[in-house]
Symmetry: C2
Subunit: 300 residues, 2 copies
C-alpha cells in the first residue's frame, strides 16, 4: 500500500486485542461470521483536526444489516463510524434524534427516573440484542478517519481468514475515494486569508486487497452508491470484475431505502421494497445469506 497512506497508521489500534479475542471465541463456537462496515470515513486536513472531508452516510444500511445477521445466528463485527447509527438505534426513533423532546413532551421524569413508551417492535429487538450481547456474539468497533478504517479492516479481515469460507465481509461503509498524502498534512489549522487548493490522491482499493491478500476465501459483499442511473450499473459491474467481490449491491442515493440491484456472477436482480413494507436490509441480508450457503456448499 502507498506509504503516504499508511504513514497515518498507529502502532496499535485501541481494540486490537478485543478483536482477536472475539474472533477466537466465535471460532471455538463454530459460528459463521459477518463483518459489517458502516458509515462514512473522514479525511482530516490538519493534524489537530479542525477541518475534514467526509462522506455522507447515516449508517442506517449497515446498522440494520448487522441486526439481520444477528437474527440469523451469525457472529457480527460491526465496524462503524463514530456517531453514525448503530444496531437498534433507528428502532428507538426520536429517542435517538431528539431525546430531550421525547423526555419533555412524551415521557415522564419523576424522582430521578425517566420513562417513555417504546413500540413492541423496538422492545422485541432490544431483548434480542441483549441476548446477542450476553452470548458475546457481537462486537462494535468505532472508527473515524479513512486511515483508522483501513487499518481496522486489514486487522479484522486478516484475523478472520481462519474462518475460510465461513466469513462474510459486508462492506457497507461509505469509504472516501480520496485522501490527503501524509506529506501534505498540516500540523496546525490553516489560515483563511487566501484560497485553498487541495490535491487529493486516490485511496488504495481496499476491496481488491481484501480479496487478494487479507481474506482470499471470505465471501465479499460490496456496495456501489451512485446518484445517476446512467452510470450505476456500468460502474457496479466494473468494480465487481476489478475487485472480485462475490456480490455487488448497487443503488441510487435518493431511492436507496426502497430499491437496490444485486449483481452476482454477471446476473443483476432487482429488489424493491415499497415504503412501510419490509425493511430492504432484511431482503438484502436474506439474499446474501442464501448466496453464502451456496458458496459454502460449493466447497463440500
Amino acid at each position: 500500500m502507498d506509504p503516504s497512506f499508511t504513514a497515518y497508521y498507529v502502532a496499535e489500534l485501541p481494540l486490537q486485542s478485543s478483536i482477536r479475542n472475539f474472533l477466537e471465541r466465535q471460532r471455538r463456537f463454530q459460528r459463521n461470521l459477518a463483518v459489517v462496515s458502516s458509515g462514512g470515513t473522514t479525511v482530516p486536513l490538519e493534524k489537530h483536526t479542525v477541518r475534514f472531508l467526509d462522506n455522507f452516510s447515516t449508517g442506517r444500511r449497515g446498522a440494520a444489516s448487522a441486526e439481520y445477521f444477528l437474527e440469523s445466528e451469525y457472529a457480527v463485527v460491526f465496524l462503524y463510524r463514530e456517531g453514525s447509527l448503530r444496531p437498534l438505534q433507528r428502532r428507538l426513533a426520536k429517542l435517538v434524534t431528539d431525546p430531550v423532546t421525547v423526555l419533555v413532551s412524551e415521557g415522564h421524569i419523576k424522582e430521578g427516573v425517566a420513562s417513555f413508551r417504546v413500540t413492541a417492535d423496538a422492545q422485541a429487538a432490544l431483548v434480542q440484542y441483549e441476548r446477542a450481547l450476553k452470548e458475546e456474539r457481537v462486537l462494535e468497533v468505532p472508527f473515524c478517519t479513512v486511515y483508522e478504517y483501513a487499518q481496522y479492516l486489514e486487522l479484522i479481515a486478516s484475523a478472520s481468514a481462519v474462518f475460510e469460507r465461513n466469513a462474510i465481509l459486508y462492506m457497507a461503509a461509505a469509504v472516501s475515494d480520496f485522501y490527503l498524502r501524509f506529506e501534505d498534512f498540516k500540523s496546525h489549522k490553516r489560515t483563511s486569508d487566501s484560497a485553498l487548493v487541495l490535491k487529493l490522491s486516490c485511496t488504495p482499493k481496499l476491496l481488491d486487497l481484501l480479496r487478494e491478500l487479507w481474506a482470499p476465501q471470505a465471501f465479499v459483499v460490496a456496495f456501489k452508491l451512485e446518484t445517476s442511473m446512467e452510470t450505476l450499473h456500468e460502474r457496479a459491474q466494473l468494480t465487481a470484475s476489478r475487485s472480485g467481490a462475490h456480490i455487488m449491491v448497487a443503488n441510487l442515493l435518493h431511492e436507496r431505502h426502497h430499491r437496490v440491484w444485486i449483481l452476482e456472477n454477471g446476473r443483476m436482480e432487482e429488489i424493491e421494497c415499497p415504503e412501510s413494507d419490509t425493511e430492504i436490509e432484511k431482503r438484502i441480508v436474506e439474499a446474501v445469506i442464501a448466496s453464502h450457503r451456496c458458496y459454502l456448499d460449493a466447497d463440500r
Copy 2:
C-alpha cells in the same frame, strides 16, 4: 456578497415564518434576545451530496451557552448544525451517545415502557427547559451547509435589528472558512479513478456583514479557535479589530472546555475552569451578559 456563494441560496428557508413570528413575540414581551449559533457547517462537493467538507464541532459550547442564556431569562434562537448537540442533550450523557446500552444494561423495558435513571441535575434542567418551551422563549433552527447557515444568519440578524441593543449575537458555530464556487459544483458524484484537485475560495466574512449591514446595533460575541498558542491571541485580535465584534472568545482546541480568553476593548481576560468544577460556558455567558448590561447602560 459573492454571487458564486449566494447562488446556493434557496428561494425560501424552511423556518422563515416561524422565525419572524418568534421574534415578534419576544418583542411584544420585551425580552432580551440571544441568537446562539452552534456546530460545524458543511461544504458539499456535489449537488446530490455524497462528499462534503466539514468543520469539527460537537456543538457543546453553543448548546451549553444557550441553556445559560435561557436561565438568565433571555429569549434564545438556537441556530445549530443538524446532528450536533442541542440544549440539555449533554446532561443526558450516555442516553444521547449510546441509548441502546442505557436501555439494555442500565434501564428496564416492560410492557412497552422503557425507564432509566437520570441525575438530579439533568432532571432540574429538563424541567427548566420545559418551562422555556411553554413560554415559547426558545426556537431551535437546524442547518447543514455553510450556505444555509449564512442565509439563516442574515435572516435572523436582520429581523432582530429591531431589538437594537437588546440582542446578543453569540456566534459559536464553526463556520467553514472555505467554500466551493457554485460554478465548480458538480451535479453528480465524481469518479474516483484519478486524483482530485479542489479549488476552494474564502467564505464571505459573515461577522463583518453582521456588524456593518444586518444588525449594526446588536452586541456581537465571536469565537476564535486555534490549535497553537503562538497564533491564538494575534489572530483573535486581528479578527476583533477587523470585524468590530464586541467580545472575542479565544481558545485552543485541546483545552477549550477548561480555558478561554475573553478579549474586550483591547483587554484580554483569562477564564479557567478546572475539570469537575463549573461548566466554562456558565462563566462565559455570565461575562457576556455583564458586558451586555454595560452596553445597554451606555445607551441610556
